[in-house]
């Protein structure tokens, strides 16, 4: 039992103390058994307070520490490190959450919040009394990282990890590398095309012997945990042995009788069952869409490298960390949403961008020349009624950039922007200024009075009550309506479920904390980067990819990984081996051993994950979990009542 416990109660600026009387909490706990020091502090996590804590621990020879502050997800490690710096074993630290679960949750009831905070701090003190000095488990960490998603974020992360001499497996579900960026033409601010960016990254990657790229590959199983993820990767065949001779390839494509909507061009064009998205795409080998191939054999007759005997492969990969970079999908408007799929000349921004790239001399839509273009913003983003309440961040810039491009490339184009307020943050504001200066018309409405698209006498009309001109009703006759659609999570995000990755309220993968732990997830060893985490532009995606690569590498760089020493322990006297615990254990961590004439359960600490599933099934209550023992839990319950 601890006899010299130090307790720190944090104001968190006013986040806690505006609703919880922290001084009252301090007074209520200062005479608790074992407490020898009780302080309040404005910011417990500040450097100055951390230094004070180290001094307090040393001066007062504290043997247990409690900090009552924010969620332990944010600062448990911070204060454990403080203990270590003061030469106190870090497992003698207990964290009490009086912000997320007290001051914020009960900001409507200050008395109730203060009373609850007192009980929670008392419970933490009760727990720390029983805390023991422990040593973290040490496991061998596989020095390799699997990156799931071969877009710009995935490729940037792969290069960063390769630079650190870390083997990388880059796993891309599609048959070609590059993700969404490959679908983009020139980009702000460099005027590089998406294809050029992808090519540059790919050419860099293929020179690296420690990077293995899989395309048409999908993770289908994940077993293990941080330091030792065992992945099963399914590789779909391309049905092509190697690169076809250039002439033969085109002849084989031309000969294919199957015509399908081309998803790469968002279905505004068609492709064949043997295809590549664009001529220089990586890997520079086409693929056969076997689901839609009729096996007519015409391509086989032309190209000797077509091989329908290729089979699906299953590979086993063992890595220490997994970096998710699975990207986003563009929002698909619902039928009728601003005339989508009901009015002929309504397209989405991604379709429009492909149209600009694929059109030459004249911008044609359904064989009719386009001159007046109406852009309707925030489609699928900032929804007042709908799932996507968030701003997709990139779409204002992308729409304005596209409107500038279209005006430069084609003559007599007039752009009309129906906005909800332009959000071209940072340097992107330059584009907005340029667009305004060249005569684009900007109108704005609130969320409760969105523009209306209607078809009147064979004309497509967009109507708005423009708040920039005092609510004046303005109508525009448009040859083409571009719905400026935002980003949504991938429709098929099943790979996230394989890793049990939590999602945020926006349904993108969720980080632990957007500022303090921005690429870490609640699943140890799995990091997230790029637009799978939420809407981002390329620069932001690349930055998060570098951050995630560094974090993933930090898990495995030493080759040895420290994990929580939370394992089950067996009371040898109480155990009389009945096999219940062994049957309940999902990790086969429990076996029987003979001690003298007695058979009892034995825990393999290297395998035990500390789930506690063996605890409640024991008929003699002979198993406890370190740090969650019955005496700790019950003493906490005693303090909470």
């Amino acid at each position: 039992m601890k006899k010299k416990i130090g307790v720190y109660i944090c104001h968190c600026g006013g986040n806690i103390s505006d609703y919880v009387d922290v001084e009252k909490v301090r007074q209520a706990i200062e005479n608790e058994e074992g407490v020898s020091l009780a302080k309040t502090t404005i910011f417990a996590c500040s450097d100055s307070n951390q230094k004070d804590m180290v001094a307090d621990i040393n001066t007062n020879q504290l043997d247990g520490v409690v900090v009552a502050s924010c969620s332990p997800k944010l600062h448990l490690i911070t204060f454990r490190n403080v203990c270590e710096r003061a030469n106190l074993n870090k497992y003698n630290y207990v964290h009490a959450n009086i912000r997320e679960q007290v001051s914020w949750a009960h900001s409507d009831d200050k008395l109730g919040a203060t009373e609850k905070a007192i009980h929670i701090v008392k419970a933490a003190i009760a727990k720390v009394r029983y805390a023991e000095s422990l040593e973290p488990n040490k496991i061998v960490a596989q020095k390799a990282v699997a990156i799931i998603g071969g877009g710009v974020a995935g490729m940037k992360a792969a290069i960063a990890l390769s630079d650190k001499d870390c083997p990388v497996y880059l796993i891309e579900r599609e048959f070609f590398i590059g993700g969404r960026v490959a679908q983009w033409d020139t980009m702000f601010t460099t005027n590089e095309t998406g294809k050029e960016v992808v090519t540059k990254l790919y050419n860099n990657l293929i020179l690296r012997p420690n990077v293995t790229i899989f395309t048409g590959a999908e993770v289908i199983k994940n077993v293990g945990s941080i330091g030792d993820f065992k992945l099963k990767v399914k590789i779909a065949p391309r049905y092509i042995k190697d690169k076809c001779k250039e002439g033969n390839l085109q002849k084989a494509i031309d000969a294919c009788p199957v015509v399908l909507p081309d998803e790469f061009n968002f279905n505004i064009t068609t492709r064949k069952a043997i295809y590549h998205n664009f001529p220089s795409e990586y890997p520079q080998s086409p693929v056969i869409d076997i689901k839609n191939c009729t096996r007519c054999g015409k391509c086989e007759q032309i190209c000797e490298n077509i091989d329908f005997s290729q089979k699906e492969e299953i590979l086993d990969i063992n890595v220490g960390s997994v970096l998710m970079a699975t990207g986003f999908d563009p929002y698909t408007p619902k039928d009728g949403e601003f005339g989508y799929n009901e009015v002929d000349n309504v397209v989405t921004l991604p379709q429009f961008k492909r149209m600009i790239e694929l059109s030459d001399k004249k911008l044609l839509f359904k064989e009719k020349e386009v001159k007046n273009i109406a852009y309707i913003y925030c489609v699928g983003s900032r929804q007042a009624e709908g799932e996507n309440t968030y701003c997709s961040r990139y779409c204002c810039t992308s729409a304005i950039h596209s409107s500038l491009l279209v005006k430069k490339k084609f003559a007599n184009i007039y752009n009309y922007h129906f906005t909800r307020g332009i959000r071209t943050y940072g340097k992107q504001e330059v584009l907005y200024a340029e667009s305004s200066q060249q005569g684009d018309i900007y109108m704005q409405s609130y969320e409760d009075a969105l523009p209306i698209v209607s078809r009147i006498n064979d004309k497509t009309i967009v109507k708005i009550n423009d708040i920039l001109t005092g609510g004046k009703e303005i109508t525009v006759e448009a040859d083409l309506i571009v719905l400026v659609t935002g980003m949504v999570p991938r429709a098929d995000n099943s790979v996230g479920a394989l890793f049990k990755l939590p999602k945020g309220r926006d349904n993108f993968f969720n980080e632990i904390h957007m500022k303090l732990r921005p690429v870490e997830t609640f699943i140890d060893g799995v990091t997230i980067s790029g637009a799978c985490q939420g809407p981002k532009n390329i620069m932001e995606s690349a930055n998060s990819a570098l951050s995630a690569a560094t974090k993933s590498y930090s898990y495995i760089s030493k080759g040895i990984l420290e994990t929580e020493p939370i394992v089950a322990v067996v009371d040898k006297n109480a155990c009389s081996w009945c096999n219940s615990c062994s049957e309940a254990c999902p990790f086969d961590a429990i076996s029987k051993i003979e001690i003298g004439e007695k058979t009892i359960a034995s825990i393999n600490n290297a395998v035990c994950k500390g789930c506690g599933m063996c605890l409640p099934v024991c008929p003699t209550d002979a198993i406890d979990l370190i740090a969650y023992s019955s005496k700790e839990i019950e003493s906490m319950i005693d303090s909470l009542i």
């Binding site: 679960q101 009960h106 605890l615 969650y628």
Partner: protein, 135 residues
Amino acid sequence: MAEKNMKSAKILVFSTEKISDPAIDMAGLLKLHYPPTVYTITVPCSSGIKSRWIMHAYEKGFDGVFIAADGSDCIFGESCTEKTGHIVSRTHELMKQNKIEPARLKMAAICSVCSESFVKQIKSFNEYLLKNSNS
């Protein structure tokens, strides 16, 4: 059962470190209010909760116990839902033996973003417990 005419029932929540605790934290972040007499003890997994802990809570005066279960999101395996269900069944038997109304133990799967669901469940459980205590 606790004193009658109380404003809110005393509820002990067993939440899980990786799954339901983030949801409860987010409820606070979103200022989704629930009674301040709801206390949380965090465990690694809902299928590791001992019946004796739950019984201890009733013995000490908690009106209700709520298991914010991992459900199918459990990081330790797919058997979690079934095993947590068994814990509830076993504890219900113990409650009956001790003449404690089984409905005072409630379990619901709370995912890492189920903040609104958590608050809704807790409010409804609180109302049930209050109604039951006054009847």
